[in-house]
């Protein structure tokens, strides 16, 4: 096939598989060193004691895990994390879907403007968002409390009350995440077959009926994807805690990733931090398992 027409000696050709591995090498090296290896390393370290001042890790079996299992603070953090996820994922999901349905039209004027105002928070650093909202939530002088005072209520100081701190943070996060999820719903909606809708309309289907019988079922794969994305995003969220509360009051706003950060970089206990990292990895794994039930998996291999 590769015969030279003039009969000259054909130069050596690199086998295709060798070429592939050379091209893949940089990506694979980075992924192995900074994704695969650290997963294994946290697994290994979680079985050791390795506190500040220790020269090297010392094997202690499952002691770290047992320690956390017995720690009320650990369970409090887990409860906070679950509570915060529920408070953010569910509203962000429905608001995101609602916004997508709202802006999924070409007929209305100013669509770009609406989309822009729903999506711009995604472009802002979480640190910046938290700084703004911290002042909006500030006790008495903050925007929220001033509004309440004007309406004749008592100032809440939502960030310093253990009952309101997570819901207050959740409102902020839903405001940011809803516009992001809107995008996925929008892309899902736009891939739906237009003819189905025209047919439904001709058949005299009401908009609500069309939504329930056509839009929702066809949107199911998107729905699953969005739920997983929203859950993962919510679990990864930590920046705002550094700015707003540092876990206060009394760890009422400490979430798992912030707890990991504290163990590692405030208390300098790498082994306990690794143990929590393993817990986090297991949670992420369980969350993403949902993907396997999605037909997304098919896409990866063809």
């Amino acid at each position: 096939m590769h015969n030279d027409q003039k009969g000259r000696k054909q130069p050596w050709k690199m086998p295709e598989s060798m070429k592939a591995w050379i091209l893949l090498a940089p990506t694979l090296i980075f992924l192995i060193v900074f994704t695969v290896y650290p997963i294994l390393r946290s697994g290994y370290l979680s079985l050791n004691a390795y506190e500040l001042g220790m020269r090297k890790p010392e094997f202690i079996g499952l002691q770290n895990y047992i320690g956390f299992a017995k720690s009320p603070l650990f369970w409090k953090v887990m409860r906070n994390t679950l509570y915060f996820s529920l408070l953010t994922v569910i509203p962000a999901f429905f608001i995101g879907l609602g916004l997508a349905l709202l802006v999924n039209t070409k007929r209305a004027k100013g669509i770009g403007l609406y989309r822009t105002s729903f999506f711009y928070p995604v472009m802002m650093p979480m640190i910046a968002i938290a700084s703004i909202w911290m002042f909006m939530y500030m006790q008495e002088s903050g925007m929220l409390d001033q509004l309440i005072l004007k309406l004749g209520g008592r100032p809440l100081g939502v960030l310093s009350n253990k009952r309101t701190v997570l819901p207050a943070m959740a409102v902020m996060y839903v405001w940011r995440e809803a516009g992001y999820l809107m995008i996925f719903f929008l892309s899902g909606l736009q891939s739906l077959d237009k003819e189905l809708y025209e047919a439904a309309l001709i058949d005299g289907s009401t908009p609500i009926h069309t939504f329930r019988k056509i839009t929702l079922p066809l949107l199911a794969p998107t729905t699953l994807f969005v739920t997983i994305t929203a859950l993962t995003d919510s679990l990864k969220l930590v920046d705002h805690i550094v700015i707003m509360t540092e876990g206060a009051p009394n760890n009422a706003s400490t979430l798992l990733l912030y707890y990991i950060y504290q163990q590692g970089f405030v208390f300098f206990d790498q082994a306990r931090a690794s143990t929590l990292t393993v817990v986090m990895l297991v949670i992420m794994l369980i969350v993403s398992m949902g993907q396997f039930f999605n037909n997304d998996k098919k896409i990866y291999y063809n």
Partner: protein, 272 residues
Amino acid sequence: MSLRKKVNPLYYVVAITLSCLFLIPLVWMVLTAFTKATFVMKVFPHENWTLDNIKYVWGQVPFARYYLNTIMVVVSTYAIQFITITMAAYALAVLKFKGEKLVFLIIFIQIIIPNDVLIIPNFMTISDLGLTDRKVAIMLPFLGSAMGTFLLRQHFKTIPRALSDAATIDGCNTAQIIRHVYVPNSKTAYISFGLVSVSYHWNNFLWPLIVTNSVENRTLTVGLALFAKSKEAVLQWTNVCAATFIISAPLVLVFFIFQKKFIESFVASGIK
């Protein structure tokens, strides 16, 4: 489109009200950043315009340096990702080789487990390599991108084989085929991933906070956090808003100008 109806006026009421609600934090931040400090926080600051807050914060915090650091990190990260994902995507989209499943497994792992979760072991690796407090430490974990590779590979697959076959007959080698056939035909994928990458790294906070320790290497987000947590900033909402404005303005502004492209890109990169 033949069945088009008039838009219900109620639609505009809902859409405009919601848009205004979403815009409140941004509007409040910008107005506060550009008005004189008052004793009590204003719900709607609209008088005593001033640039003093911006000037004060710019003088107080080395934001110019942080800007430079952030731009260096963001640009270099994307430049290197551009090369790594192009190479990997070509191998996965075009070449046949054994072990493809293993490669997909590794890519899949990074899609499930984002680097944000691996701060502890990755920090240890960075300090083992003696790279703490270097800009390269901020970038390293992100230089191979599963998401970018995958996105680009999907795009490469849509490019007809005939094009690269023609190039081969013309005497192009693999590097030339990638450069002259695949890269120029995948502009949208590169832009999509570029926007996602740039906004992620511009906004990233925890990792740069952990691995940097000096003004020479800190990014904007870390600078803002340090300022917002400092004694000078307590109750100084005008100054904190000014600082917030300084660090978030470029990206938000660019987004407002190119919103259509941005949203399209996020839509494209979202379908993994």
